[in-house]
């Protein structure tokens, strides 16, 4: 299946080059249209429950020197990607940026990595393939999984079968850049617990929370990478278990939850493939700050602005979120996950999580 995808991706890239070719031949100005990738062009897809791009498009046209350079770079990148797929190799986004330096044409070289990243996103959108299909990897190391899951990963050195508790160290199983190379063999997991911070993840592992409750602990590492979101969605879809998100009690963490659940702006073209609309938020909730009397920091101005803009954000237009955000604005405080340690190191695994998960109907 994955080889098919790659073949298809390659064909789609070459089709794009052919499109430029035809435009030249017809005496048209070579161009390509891509959806405008700004917040204002993100729409909520009612059917899929995720965020997708709206109807507005931007045209990359050879009409200007800038536009012509962009298209030239696109064609060079297309050639590079199609060669890479043909040779079944892969590279990182950063490598692409540096690689452009070796191209014979100065006009085709990238000025900075944002430019090359953006171009790859453009190509994803226009070709309908993903960058994983192009064999392009992001830089950041993937996040980890710890929990009762047995899987088989297609690695460059052959197939590996790994149990995510028994075959891994304290660090857990490293999620590969393309999680679609993984096959889930067996699982005793009851639910998925996505954790924002490394400190809390380690606490849960040390306290044996995964074993005790059959939890698949996915470490998000802040804003989750695509691979992390993709594997979360696949685990949810294929194992049919609930997904929960455990993060700090501040507006930025709510957005981490939103990107797991509904998708992000930069990858809205892949929301269907990355987002898990069924994901539930555990906490820290503003209500928890009050209920457990957690140590807090005051809200900064930017926190307040972020909360207020979340009140406007359709992703948070539910009674639950409105109530929580307004409560937080009211108390003017935020709390980290680790603040639970003020009640003792075991409080989170023995009291807080079981209570919350029960209340959410997960346990």
């Amino acid at each position: 299946m994955s080889a098919d995808n790659e073949q298809q991706a390659r064909e789609q890239l070459i089709d794009l080059a052919a499109q430029f070719y035809d435009q030249f031949e017809l005496g048209e100005i070579p161009h390509m249209d891509v959806p405008t990738r700004t917040k204002s062009n993100i729409e909520y897809d009612e059917d899929l429950d995720v965020w997708v791009y709206g109807d507005r498009t931007s045209t990359r046209s050879a009409n200007s020197v800038r536009g012509a350079r962009k298209l030239l770079k696109a064609v060079y990148t297309i050639e590079f990607l199609s060669d890479q797929l043909e040779q079944d190799r892969s590279s990182t986004l950063r490598e692409l940026y540096y690689l452009s330096e070796s191209w014979d044409n100065e006009n085709a070289q990238f000025n900075d990595q944002d430019e090359s990243n953006q171009l790859v996103e453009d190509l994803e959108i226009v070709s309908g393939a993903t960058r994983e299909d192009f064999h392009m990897r992001p830089e950041e190391s993937g996040a980890t999984i710890m929990g009762p899951l047995f899987l088989r990963e297609q690695t460059r050195r052959g197939e590996r079968e790994i149990h995510c508790q028994e075959d891994v160290g304290e660090g857990g199983y490293q999620i590969p850049n393309n999680p679609d190379t993984i096959e889930f063999l067996d699982s005793d997991a009851e639910f998925i617990l996505c954790v924002e911070t490394g400190g809390m993840r380690d606490r849960l592992v040390e306290n044996g929370f995964d074993e005790e409750y059959g939890a698949l602990i996915v470490h998000l590492k802040g804003q989750p990478a695509r691979a992390t979101r993709r594997i979360t969605k696949r685990l949810h879809d294929e194992l049919d278990i609930p997904v929960t998100v455990f993060a700090d009690g501040d507006p930025w963490s709510y957005r981490i939850y939103a990107s797991v659940a509904y998708g992000s702006i930069k990858s809205a073209h892949l929301s269907e493939y990355l987002a898990t609309p069924e994901a539930q938020y555990i906490g820290i909730q503003p209500a928890d700050i009050v209920e457990y009397d957690l140590p807090t920091d005051p809200l900064s101005d930017s926190d307040i602005n972020a909360l207020e803009s979340e009140l406007e954000d359709p992703r948070f237009q539910t009674d639950y979120w409105e109530e929580q955000i307004e409560l937080q604005l009211d108390i003017g405080k935020k709390a980290e996950q680790q603040a639970l340690a003020s009640r003792g190191l075991d409080f989170v695994t023995e009291t807080y999580l079981p209570e919350r998960l029960e209340a959410m109907g997960v346990l």
Binding site: F20, E28, A62, A68, L71
Partner: protein, 827 residues
Amino acid sequence: MTAFQSTLGEEEGIAEELAENQRAISIAEFFEKNKHMLGFDSGARGLVTAVKEAVDNALDAAEESGILPDIYVEIEESGDYYKLIVEDNGPGLTKDSLPKVFGKLLYGSRFHKREQSRGQQGIGISAAVLYSQLTSGKPAKITSRTQGSNEAQYFELIIDTDENEPEISVDRTTTWDRPHGTRIELEMEGNMRARQQLHDYIKHTAVVNPHARLELREPQAHFKFERATDQLPEETEEIRPHPHGVELGTVIKMLSATDSHSVSGFLQEEFTRVGKKTAESVIDEFRDRHYGREMAWTPPGPHESADVAAAVTEATVNKGATATEAFATAIADAVADSDRVAHNELVAIVDSSADAVEDEHGTTFGDTVRENAAEAAWAELAGLVGDDEDEDPADETDADPDDHSRLVTDLYELADGATSTRKDDEVVHAFAVRLAGKFEDSEDTRHRFTHKTLVEFVDRAAELTEEYDDVAFGDTARENVVDAIWSVMVTVPDDPPRVRDLSGDRDATSDLVDGMRATDIMAPPTRCLSPISDDLIEAGLKKEFEADFYAAATRDAEVSGGDPFIVEAGIAYGGDLEAEGSANVMRFANRVPLVYQRGACATTDVVKSIGWRNYGLDQPGGSGVPNGPVVIMIHVASTNVPFTSESKDAVANVPEIEDEIELAIREAARELKSYLNKRRSMQKRRKKQNVLGKILPEMATKVAEVTGRAEPDIDDAIARIMNNVLVERRLEENGDGQTVEVVVENHSSTNESLAVTDIVSAEPSNLSDGATVVEMDGEWFVKWDADVSSGDEAVLTYEVSTDAAFDIDVDGVEAEKLTVTDTETNQ
């Protein structure tokens, strides 16, 4: 002085003794001591000035006779001196006038003329002769041949500075190769340190005299400036002075010289732009100044006690009741019908009423009766009643406040209308009462006053009002009141004095001059001026400067000090002009280049004051002469260019002239701006074209590589991107021959007109409409003019044998906008 004073009285004849030492100095002697005033202050400059004077003279002489000037200037070293030779092809000078022209200062034909010419005072060339004889001690050698004469006349002369007369040492006939013209040879002390100025002078002269051929040979250089046109400058005509520019002394002189008897005739005869109507206007202005105006009062209303009819009836005796009544009623009606009545108008009314009643009733109304009637009626109108005439004490009490209020009401209305609405009614009323008092107290019961007297009245009344009512009555308010009253006052019908009376009356003449200045008079005619014209300025600039752009502007004529003038400006930009440093500013007055005293010249001041950045030029600090490859040329043509000194190096700062200079420069600069803008956008386009011209083929190559196809044709796409006009040849085999299509696609946003020439090596046939073919040396020139509107295309087709070669040439579209793709031919 003290020494003389101490001896005063003791010794007689001091004054006589002193007087013996006092004597008239000749003008030549004066200039001998004041050479700098004529531009001969140094050896370097003296040489340039001498060239300048000789060349100016030569140009004037040739042009006046309708000859295209051909002037040769030579400077050669001659021992310690320089020898200057100037030859022209002018009409030559007669044997009588020649010595005077060269050997007498202030001898010339142009000083008294209002007509544009280079020389004006008749000093120039004789000053050069004087300078030469002072420095080298050698006489001027002059050869002249008049048109049609067989021989030339040769003179050697010096100027007798005591007498300001030429002194001829050699006078003989000679032969000369020029058919007519004059040659002057002067030897003088000098040096060539001012070589640059000399070259500038000659070069600049060539720019503004494109009809002249100039040649300069000096020890280190030799230039020739050929003609750019065979068209002589339009001949100028002398004009009479314009009333706005003459001074009192001149008018007095003109008055004593004129043949006219009446002032009106004098004005019409002696001045330009004065006809009967204008003369009348001038005379009215004169009357206002000389005689003053008469105050016109509103006629009494029915509610007022002033009764014109009753007063007239009372004043008219022995004329019978009916006639008297008719007379009184006629006057009263006429008065009541008027808006305002002044004394002279009332007299006229009385006269016409008297005439009418005389006709009807057969009663004679003599002068005395009329005068009495007019006086009585005026007394009523002007509120003079009650003082002596009306003795009835019962009337007195009634009449007094009313009489006052007649004038007061009138003046109050005027003052109230003229002053700001914030002024209190009470104050204005009090002011009106005081002003009315001035009128009543005045000796002239006709209420005839000059503007000056009126101002005094108003000032006095205003001062009293300020003093007693403790309010401000400022200058503006006073002026407004004066204006309001003056405007209702009436010009008197008195006849102006005869010319012979006027000429002896300085004050009256002064009133006349003031009147002339105050009257609106059409600008003087411009046929006395000979501007270069914008076309010829451009031609002149093109001739002498290799630039990319030329613009010129000629303004309409304006007047300054009675002398009409025209300002012209020209600008050249780019090309081979020096890009470093500031612009080259060329100044001209009456076609003569101004070389010295650049900083003192009005033209330079104006150039510096213009914000050149607005016109796309670099101007450090936002003021001063702009930088860059620019030549700015300014020409002031006038019947009397106001120079700052006799040496005629700089135009004086006369506001009217400065304004016109600025407008002329700005007019030309606007063209420069649009040229520079266009050039910039073309540069951008070229840059874009250069970059895209590289990127797009690379992209096409890559696309072809990736898709595994042949390289695509990208010309159409490029033309469209560049908004270009694409000219493309398409060939199609057609039996033995081939069909050629030349397609013009206009991708630009404007309509384009192209001239396409396709040079074909074989004879073409079946040409499409609009195309013509001409054979030349075995090549066929297919000419085709195509008008293609924006977004459209046009096609030229013809048939030709398959072995034909082509070479296409397209005109009418900027190179930057044009993409020509000529397919490979068989050759």
